[in-house]
Symmetry: C2
Subunit: 225 residues, 2 copies
């Protein structure tokens, strides 16, 4: 085993039986065709399952919406990238020449995907119980710090989550009209929910506020309808 991979295995708490899985998990798509994209798909599902089951157990009073928001808060790219950094994952990823120079958001996304791929690889190497143990160990602090009261969300996000939970298409927003002088404009935005044949309007002093108002009105119609 490459010496640096031994260090990564130690940090992760898992020694791979099949080294090729670890190598594949660490290969970004920019570095070749035997890359980590398929493992990322798998790891994403493993992670979501393990975190969902854990949240279900820990928050026995939380309803579905709160559980979904807790999960979204835990498995978002930013958190995954931060956890990837605790493993020094960036040092071990194989990237194509173009990607080596990229920074910021792009880099965060590569780290998050790499961590998901690594989780997928642990699952294939040793099964769901081993993957679960590694995930809960990685997310220990996150799980302790996340709380239902902190994940209350804005109407647009809640509308999106409600529609996803009902297997309906996502909403579309469009500005229907803008009135008033430049410094005192009123936006009217339509929120279109195609699966439900709905168009709901919202008004506000900015496009963003009008969108939130439209989403709020749509939520109310959906929850009472």
């Amino acid at each position: 085993m490459r010496g640096d991979l031994e260090r990564l295995s130690r940090r992760l708490g898992h020694t791979f039986g099949d080294q090729r899985l670890l190598e594949a998990a660490l290969t970004h798509r920019s570095a070749g065709s035997a890359n980590n994209e398929r493992l990322e798909f798998l790891g994403d599902a493993v992670l979501s399952f393990v975190i969902s089951a854990e949240l279900y157990e820990r928050f026995s009073k939380a309803n579905e919406g709160t559980l979904s928001r807790l999960r979204a808060a835990l498995v978002k790219g930013e958190t995954l990238a931060r956890l990837a950094i605790t493993l020094d994952l960036g040092e071990h990823l194989r990237l194509g020449p173009g990607e080596l120079k990229s920074g910021g958001f792009r880099r965060e996304s590569i780290l998050a995907d790499g961590l998901e791929a690594l989780i997928g690889a642990v699952y294939l190497d040793a099964g769901i119980a081993a993957a679960r143990t590694r995930i809960l160990s990685l997310f220990e602090e996150e799980l302790q710090n996340v709380s239902p009261s902190e994940v209350l969300k804005d109407p647009k996000t809640r509308l999106q989550e409600l529609l996803q939970s009902r297997h309906e298409p996502l909403p579309g927003y469009s500005v229907l009209s803008v009135e008033g002088d430049a410094h005192e404009q009123t936006f009217v935005v339509g929120c279109r929910i195609s699966g439900l044949d709905m168009l709901v309007k919202g008004t506000g002093g900015s496009r963003r506020k009008a969108e939130q108002a439209a989403a709020k009105a749509a939520l109310e119609q959906l929850e009472n309808g």
Copy 2:
């Protein structure tokens, strides 16, 4: 055990150790506070994990995008509702008085959610291996019939999936201008990707076509960028 529940257990192939889990899985939110929403949250994650792992194994050449589309084709509400009907799930669901009269899409969604809740209940009752066996048995025909060549998707869907896989916000579309006579209009639509600070334009003879053109252009920029 209620006689009808025994029939359901037989169809499902799982006899519950904890009957309360089965009762909860069959209780729609319209019928009380001890309903199936939390179990649905859990079952959705269990289902997604089991199907993802199965697709990963069966389609060893499929890339991440194809695997995501195959999964979306298998776990969509319409399919879940159809499988729920094979279990006669509708006969066993406890619904509030208002819901009993509802039909069509609403009913399909209640059945799909009920099946996910049932899967969550099996998982809690007997563990992931038991849930996996039940899921693969339920989805056996679907898994045999689904094929990568059938899940090629339109640019808007592919753009949405690409952004989701990169943990980036979803795109927004808006009509920038409409020109020409009523029977020969040209739409210009902007596709906004806020996380990436992009606005890409597309043109077409209808709003829908212009949106697809904008999504296609955005996909090209993202995939080459």
